[in-house]
């Protein structure tokens, strides 16, 4: 065989290797789902899937809703993809928390070159507006971990905040699509009424009124009030239903959460979060932190750890195993797990998960 023929063979073998590698690469790429835009509908893009679920309830058939951060993805760390810009570029309404949770959102807005949804425009909705923020820092610097400079931004974990979020979305929809303002108002009322019924039970809402109940629940006085007051001879607490009733056994129970995802939720339902697995927000624990946590959990008899399903499950289960606690690993947002398709499913999922864990825990 001539030298050239040998060189050719050698070359063709290398080519074969490269060719197979490329084939492998190609088979792994799945064509992104079609981004069809139905004519006539208001195009809504939300950062979080939970906001999308709420917007779908409020807007019904009048809106076409997409979201950027998946339900089981950490909203702090989303890497913007080209499809984000495509989606946002044709959006009529952009819905975001408006705080420093989705730090990637400004980049997406900029790269979409869509002037209608810039901050301050009609098509921009910051859903935190009107929500009383918890954990406002006194000083903001990164030495305290991923501190949010305005306060805890995981606002939607309280259904009461869910109502405010829905209201803000409805106002935004009414601004970009004034012709259907009434329909959005109707959708909003239906959503908010369902939240009230699911939170307090229909009977209590009828008797006391949603506004009175909401304010009592937010300030933490609800349960005391219901125990002290009676109506037609029986204490009001007997008429409590919904999540509040389901979560009654959870009141005052001590838990540990992985990240401060659930401050608004635990505040509303009276759970006592004694510590986080993360020593400082968004900073992974070191050996000593874990040891300290385990000691604290043993000392205080903590039986349950609550964590979002985007954190390393092994870490959470490992700690739980060492203290004989239960790990409740749940989606932090709608569509984050099979069967969690509405905002109500999400709350159901958290409360049921916690109740089961406390029932099973030794």
């Amino acid at each position: 065989m001539s030298g050239r023929a040998k060189a050719f063979l050698r070359k063709s073998r290398l080519q074969a290797v490269i060719f197979t590698s490329v084939l492998l690469l190609l088979t792994c790429i799945i064509v992104p789902p079609g981004l069809a835009n139905e004519g006539g509908r208001v195009d809504v893009v939300t950062t979080l899937s939970t906001y999308a679920a709420i917007a779908r309830r409020v807007g019904g058939d009048l809106v076409e809703v997409h979201y950027l951060c998946q339900g089981d993805e950490d909203p702090h760390f989303v890497r913007p993809k080209p499809s984000f810009s495509v989606l946002v570029s044709k959006a009529d309404l952009f819905v975001t928390t408006g705080l420093d949770l989705e730090l990637w959102a400004p980049t997406v807005i900029d790269s979409s070159r869509n002037p209608r949804i810039r901050e301050g425009q009609k098509g921009y909705v910051a859903v935190y507006d009107g929500i009383h923020l918890l954990e406002r820092p006194v000083t903001a610097d990164r030495s305290q971990g991923g501190v949010h400079i305005y306060g805890n931004p995981h606002i939607y974990t309280s259904p009461l905040n869910g109502k405010i979020i829905a209201t803000n979305i409805a106002i935004g929809l009414g601004k970009v699509d004034p012709a259907h303002k009434k329909a959005y108002r109707k959708g909003l009322d239906a959503f908010n009424n369902e939240v009230d019924r699911r939170l307090f039970g229909p009977e209590l809402v009828r008797l006391v009124g949603a506004e009175t109940l909401g304010k009592l629940a937010e300030s933490g006085n609800l349960i005391r009030f219901l125990r002290e007051q009676s109506y037609e001879g029986s204490p009001l607490i007997d008429r409590l239903g919904g999540w509040m009733k389901e979560a009654l056994p959870l009141r005052g129970k001590k838990i540990v959460t992985y990240h401060k995802n659930w401050v608004y939720f635990t505040d509303l339902f009276g759970l006592n979060v004694i510590a986080e697995v993360e020593p400082k927000p968004s900073i992974p624990p070191s050996p000593r932190d874990v040891e300290r946590l385990i000691q604290q959990m043993k000392a205080e008899g903590v039986r349950v750890i609550l964590a979002a399903n985007y954190y390393d499950e092994n870490k959470v289960r490992n700690i739980a195993q060492r203290v004989g606690a239960r790990a409740v690993i749940v989606p932090v947002s709608v569509y984050g797990a099979p069967g969690v398709n509405t905002y109500f499913d999400l709350l159901d999922c958290w409360i049921h998960g916690l109740k089961e864990a406390f029932a099973e825990a030794p």
Binding site: C28, D72, A126, V208, T212, P287, D312
Partner: protein, 413 residues
């Protein structure tokens, strides 16, 4: 829980890793395929990732089978691409495999959520969280590979050390290459899952480099590698515990420091003119020290200037925090924001005069305030309380509970 309990499993895992990796590292350095472990690790990770795409979870048996299968394919590729008189170095193929596997993993994981976390996990590992069963399986797998290599040690060593004479003696080099890479992949798949790419890399390379620097005999090389690995793992883990640092990266950097110190010491020791060599080393250390000082000074200087230390959009967020919810001013407005229980408590302490002058005119249609004010007035001045409650009862939007309370108070004050 004391430190020993916490660090015992990670240390055991380190020992198990040191055992096989010090040995395989010697092969890797002799074959001049330093980055093969990175490439194989990445391929294994790609296997896990692809499995994840099918809904098979990481750390499960199915995902292990996937990553193993991927590694074996890569082992075949590596043994096929080593040519007796190739013009393209083996490192090029390895580097290419690494880059392709890494890029593909990112593309694949992009379809699955929490991908970024997963990829970071592969890089740094989580040796601190290792479980007893994992250490046990790792020990069993590595022992099997070790035994395999011990039985065929002559073939493996010949192919690694002197491939020319292996070719001349008619040994099927390609087969032995494949067996080597396959057993190597078996080890890597396991170790990367717990220790991460970085730690596995230093476990592989550092003891072997130092051992080869010190002696030519395989047995001594192995003893040096094992001793060093054990000592450094222990010191690294202790350091990680005392200074509260992430364990994997602590061991990696400590390994680097040890290698640097040892090679500097060797350089001085073996040099024919030690005084001159010592002067070189001192000068080098001084230069490094002053560079570090310069770095610290300039870093602090820049950090104090917001124009340099923050991107524009973040600076504006610091300057303009979002508008806060308005704090109510007047007494009535403050009351409106409170819950029913607090309203009752607050109004229960007020005089009839305050209620009449400051509360009622501004209460609007807040039924809770009107009821609480009516109840209070009824107590201190029934003549003023009655009309308030009666007015309230005329409203149609009053909730049954408030209606019952107002009526009850009117009927038996």
């Amino acid at each position: 829980m004391n430190p020993l309990q916490l660090m015992a499993l990670p240390f055991l895992e380190c020992l198990v890793l040191v055992g096989i990796h010090s040995y395989l590292g010697i092969h890797v350095i002799k074959r001049e395929v330093i980055f093969v472990d990175l490439a194989l690790a990445q391929i294994a990770a790609l296997g896990t990732t692809v499995a994840y795409l099918f809904g098979i979870h990481p750390h499960s048996t199915g995902s292990y089978a996937f990553s193993l299968a991927f590694t074996f394919v890569a082992a075949a590729v590596f043994s096929l691409t080593r040519l007796r008189r190739g013009r393209i170095p083996q490192e090029a193929v390895i580097g290419l495999t690494y880059a392709l596997a890494a890029a593909t993993a990112i593309l694949v994981i992009d379809r699955a959520p929490h991908g970024a976390e997963h990829i970071k996990e592969i890089l740094t590992g989580s040796i601190l969280w290792v479980r007893g069963e994992t250490v046990a399986t790792a020990a069993a797998v590595y022992a099997f590979v070790g035994l395999f290599h011990y039985v065929f040690r002559k073939r493996f060593l010949l192919v690694s050390e002197d491939v020319e004479s292996a070719y001349r003696r008619g040994i099927p080099v390609r087969l032995w290459d494949f067996l080597f890479y396959m057993s190597f992949g078996l080890v890597i798949t396991h170790s990367v899952e717990t220790a991460g790419v970085l730690l596995v890399f230093v476990f592989l390379v550092v003891p072997a480099v130092l051992a080869i620097l010190l002696t030519d005999r395989l047995l001594y090389q192995l003893i040096i590698g094992w001793t060093l690995g054990t000592l450094v793992s222990f010191a690294g883990l202790a350091l990680s515990y005392i200074l509260d640092l992430p364990s994997g990266p602590a061991i990696v950097t400590f390994y680097g420091l040890v290698l640097l110190t040892a090679s500097l010491a060797l350089y001085v020791y073996r040099s024919p003119r030690r005084a001159k060599a010592l002067a070189h080393v001192t000068a080098g250390l001084l230069a490094a020290g002053s560079l570090l000082a310069l770095l610290m000074v300039s870093g602090r200087w820049i950090a104090r200037r917001p124009a340099l230390a923050f991107p524009d959009w973040k600076r504006s967020a610091l300057v303009h925090p979002p508008a806060r919810v308005d704090e109510p001013r007047s007494l009535a407005a403050k009351l409106k924001a409170m819950d029913f229980v607090t309203k009752k408590e607050q109004l229960g302490r007020m005089s009839a005069e305050t209620i009449e002058k400051e509360i009622l005119p501004e209460a609007g249609n807040d039924a809770e305030i009107l009821l609480a004010a009516g109840l209070r007035l009824l107590k201190v001045d029934p003549g003023k309380g009655r009309p308030v409650l009666e007015g309230l009862l005329r409203r149609t939007d009053l909730s049954p509970l408030l209606r019952a309370q107002a009526r009850g108070a009117l009927e038996n004050p």
